[in-house]
């Protein structure tokens, strides 16, 4: 009999799964890639939320970021689709099965260049999903070309200067009517994890623009997306927390300095004031803050806009509660009488 003490059992979440149950295949991205940190934060978020991986659908397009769904939640179905077209595939899958808990990972090329149209239309339709843009301002998989989110006048590794205006994913999302818009940084789990959890609780399209430095092609001096620059420019709006309805809010705060956003599933996102007053339910204020930070050369992060009382596409289309995928002949094939009546109309 062994005298060694048994290793302590790994801690489990509310559905009895360990964090290991939320892991995926080993990453094949470059060592130090911001995307891998985000993968880990997704794993932590879903583990802590106690979501059953089999209920999750992992969606992506093409690019380094779009590879990452293979690196988390092995027990969830994944769909690595076509470049820039993940939103349409997600829309179809979610229409077929409303119960799927959908998380998508895309990149700045996949979202803001080739996929800009589908990105905008996804938001218009308010599909219930979490959409993380792993934004590094550069094409990694094709070796270092600028993307449409690269800052004007920023410099490529080999010296080229970006002469064109950047597309701001967050202000665009707000303009398109997005009901949950946030920005964070891959190296800030304290901010990103509650934002991911809030996005999961949100019933509608939740966009998280996550700055994620590319260690290989965009981490040099002169890059506006290097680890150093992002850390230096990061300007968080508030300190973010996430609690389940049943939990007690334990954040210390000055009276009047804590805002709470309540979601229909009972979850609450808490926003503790830092430097300024900010109301995340005010679209105008959100756009102003984004514009102002851009002018000042800051990288504003936080939850910019949220409307937790919203109707997602499935509700708008009044789709039945049973997923369409599970309906059979009884529900789907009308009667012979109905057909014969229709035939009479064509006589």
């Amino acid at each position: 009999m062994s005298t060694q003490a048994a290793a302590p059992a790994p801690s489990t979440n509310k559905i009895g799964l360990t964090k290991g149950d939320y892991k995926g295949a080993p990453s094949t991205l470059c060592i130090g890639c911001g995307h891998d940190s985000i993968t880990n934060h997704i794993i932590t978020s879903f583990f802590e939320l106690g979501i059953n991986p089999h209920q999750v659908a992992k969606m992506s397009g093409i690019g380094c970021s779009s590879k990452t769904p293979a690196y988390f939640m092995n027990q969830a179905h994944g769909f690595n689709s076509v470049h820039g077209r993940m939103p349409s595939v997600s829309t179809g899958a979610k229409l077929a099965n409303r119960n799927l808990n959908m998380i998508a990972v895309s990149g700045d090329g996949d979202t803001a260049s080739i996929g800009l149209g589908q990105f905008c239309h996804l938001i218009r339709r308010n599909l219930d999903m979490v959409y993380i843009v792993e934004n590094n301002g550069v094409y990694g998989l094709t070796k270092g070309q600028f993307s449409a989110t690269a800052d004007k006048d920023s410099k490529l590794k080999y010296g080229a200067i970006n002469k064109f205006e950047q597309i701001d994913i967050c202000s665009l999302a707000i303009d398109m009517g997005c009901t949950y818009v946030a920005r964070s940084f891959s190296g800030d789990p304290k901010q990103l994890i509650p934002l991911i959890k809030g996005a999961v609780s949100h019933k509608g399209t939740a966009i998280i623009d996550c700055i994620s430095p590319c260690v290989t092609f965009n981490n040099h001096e002169g890059s506006s997306r290097s680890y150093l620059t992002v850390k230096e420019k990061d300007d968080p709006l508030h300190e973010i927390g996430y609690v389940h309805g049943a939990e007690e809010i334990k954040v210390d705060y000055e009276p009047g300095s804590l805002k709470e956003v309540k979601f229909p599933d009972g979850a609450i996102v808490t926003l503790k004031k830092l430097k300024r007053d900010f109301d995340p339910t005010n679209r105008m204020q959100a756009l102003e803050a984004l514009e102002e930070s851009k002018t000042q050369g800051h990288l504003l992060t936080g939850l910019f806009y949220v409307n937790p009382q919203t109707h997602d596409l499935g509700e708008v289309l009044e789709i039945c509660d049973t997923p369409l995928a599970y309906l059979g002949e009884k529900e789907l094939r009308p009667s012979a009488e109905a057909l014969s009546k229709i035939m009479q109309g064509f006589e």
Binding site: Q75, S81, L95, A96, N97, E318, L324, A325, I342
Partner: protein
């Protein structure tokens, strides 16, 4: 003058947006309900108002209802095309025209019969409302034809009231206009032409319907529950009609909730993306489009083939390339869709030739795509999709849905293993699971990049080749499931005609005309790609095979030659028609005769 009963082709030349559609439908319905074989082709422009439109109706006691370019009766209502319309009538034919359309001295023909009708004045005298006058002028020409051809008045009246159902005032005004036309002819026109119609009994248990409506009904009865589409002529009405039937037939009466979801997408890229997403997640999903949309769907078509996702795409073909002639017909995408996308791809295509097949193939396309786990294309065209066709009534489907090889939680528990892309049964069709299936083995990762039998990423040469070979075998398996060709053998014939889709309408007439020249023909109507063995058999039995189709380059001719290959392919001859208008018998006969006489 000998009377010609139940055999004439009529053309109504109007301006689009003038409201002639109702009048023309009433006219067609009247012939049809008199039991006479009838067909109609609407030759319309890509425009909403003001450009020329020709509506042709052919009534024929022998059942030949394909388009006939030689016109017996022209109803000339459009000043802009008056000169060419006037010239297009055949010798001995009839020209009915408004008195304001003067027959200039150099233009006058002495080989046609003119009936000048003061349409404008009749409308002004009888109807005070200016807006109505123009619309009701159309019913006046229906009245003129009713009297001239002796169309059964009670039948016409019934067609009027059915057409404007529940709108008593509209019915009343139209009936009045009809009578104005009849009375004018009775009082002022001396009939000099030989054309006349009489009741027959050819349309028992038949309906008049367009192929798109038929396909829409097929989708609804075939269990389609997700539709994603982008408007494009001539496919829009297929989706719009599907949505109408969904609203009528698929809303839960107690909850008001819908057993379907439809999205008008931002473009065809998104439409096919949604269909693939929905198919992947287990719903029966479809989109409908035409050539330009098919072009945009190419990348996803390859993705669906390679990742093995069920999807149904209706291609209502129109005249290409590019924008082409958007409102004219063509069998123009057969070759393109056959291998749509980059790399090695082959897609099953179902090719309906009439409304019954539009209804039935729409249903079976969902069975096929789920059975074969691949996108299936239903290749209709503008002629079949948008024109009114006399058709047998549709039968209630008797076969249950075939949902294909899907493993649920219980099946996974029992099996204890699952590999998404393994050929377990030897038919090259693997098993799949749907997202949301509650079992640790259920999940797999779908990717358009290289994948092995376990759905894991791979760039290994052997894995890639294995996958491509299995997909090729799966296409062979598809032969078992697609609709077989229809063979019409004629005793003593050793020349074959191979045709498909809407071309069918002109083939029987062509065969009968060829017979007058002493040429007996067998006829094989191909209804799907991949072909069954019957195509090869047909080639073996005939010394020559004429592949008749509506495109310039002989697209099916190339596919057949490629797929049957070898010596047999040398028997192929290509017969082509490609002016944007529906094919007609004479052009087929002329081309075949030219070949035959050179032998």
């Amino acid at each position: 003058m000998s009377i010609i009963v139940n055999d004439c082709s009529i053309c109504i030349a109007t301006v689009n947006g003038s409201g002639s559609q109702s009048a023309n439908n009433i006219l067609l319905k009247s012939f049809f309900r008199m039991g006479i074989p009838s067909g109609a082709k609407n030759l319309f422009p890509s425009n909403i108002q003001g450009l020329p439109t020709w509506y042709t109706i052919r009534v024929n006691k022998d059942g030949y209802v394909a388009r006939k370019p030689e016109l017996d009766i022209m109803v000339a209502m459009n000043a802009a095309t008056w000169v060419e319309d006037h010239a297009s009538v055949k010798k001995g034919g009839v020209i009915i025209h408004g008195t304001e359309l003067a027959v200039a001295s150099g233009m006058k023909r002495d080989d046609v019969i003119y009936y000048a009708i003061p349409f404008k004045q009749l409308a002004e005298q009888n109807f005070t409302e200016i807006k109505l006058r123009k619309l009701l002028t159309n019913m006046i020409y229906v009245g003129v034809l009713t009297e001239l051809l002796q169309i059964d008045l009670e039948v016409v009246k019934k067609a009027v009231s059915d057409n404007f159902a529940n709108k008593a005032k509209v019915v009343e005004a139209n009936l009045k206009a009809l009578q104005v036309g009849i009375d004018y002819v009775k009082g002022n026109v001396k009939k000099q032409d030989p054309y006349k119609v009489e009741k027959m009994d050819a349309n028992k248990n038949k309906i008049v319907i367009d192929g798109n409506s038929a396909a829409a009904l097929g989708c609804v009865y075939g269990g389609c529950s997700v539709v994603a589409w982008y408007p494009i002529t001539p496919s829009s009405s297929l989706c719009e009609t599907t949505i109408d039937y969904f609203e009528e037939l698929r809303v839960d009466k107690t909850t008001g909730k819908k057993n379907f979801a439809t999205v008008q997408a931002e473009d065809e890229l998104a439409a096919i993306g949604m269909v693939l997403g929905a198919g992947w997640a287990g719903a029966r999903a479809m989109t409908a489009t035409s050539g330009p949309g098919i072009s945009l769907m190419a990348e996803f078509a390859g993705y669906g083939y390679f990742t093995e996702i069920p999807a149904v795409v209706f291609d209502i073909q129109r005249t290409g390339p590019s924008t082409g002639l958007p409102t004219r017909t063509m069998q123009g995408d057969i070759d393109f869709v056959n291998t749509l996308s980059h790399g090695d791809t082959r897609h099953p295509m179902l090719i309906p030739a009439n409304p019954v097949e539009c209804f039935e193939f729409a249903q079976s396309s969902f069975d096929l795509s789920e059975r074969l786990q691949t996108p299936v294309f239903v290749m209709s065209d503008l002629d079949l999709g948008m024109n009114q066709w006399a058709s047998e009534k549709f039968n209630m489907p008797s076969k249950p849905f075939d949902r294909g090889k899907v493993l649920n939680t219980e099946a996974l528990k029992k099996l204890g293993k699952f590999e998404r892309y393994r050929d377990v049964d030897g038919d090259a069709i693997p098993y799949r699971t749907l997202p949301g299936t509650d079992h640790p083995l259920a999940a797999y990762f779908t990717r358009g990049s290289g994948h092995n039998e376990g759905a894991k990423y791979t760039e290994k040469a052997e894995d890639y080749k294995n996958l491509m070979d299995r997909l090729s075998r799966k296409f062979e398996t598809a032969k078992k499931y697609v609709p077989k060709s229809v063979l019409k053998e004629v005793s003593g014939a050793d020349v074959g005609i191979l045709a498909y889709g809407s071309t069918d309408l002109a083939i029987t007439e062509s065969q009968d005309l060829l017979l007058k020249d002493g040429i007996k023909t067998n006829y094989l109507r191909v209804r799907a790609v991949p072909f069954g063995d019957e195509v090869k058999e047909f080639y073996k039995k005939n010394k020559r095979v004429y592949v008749v189709e509506q495109n310039r380059d002989g697209q099916m001719f190339e596919i057949v030659n490629h797929d049957i290959g070898g010596e047999l392919a040398l028997k192929s001859r290509s017969v082509r028609h490609y002016d944007g208008l529906p094919i007609f018998a004479k052009t087929i006969v002329e081309q075949i005769l030219k070949f035959e006489r050179s032998h």
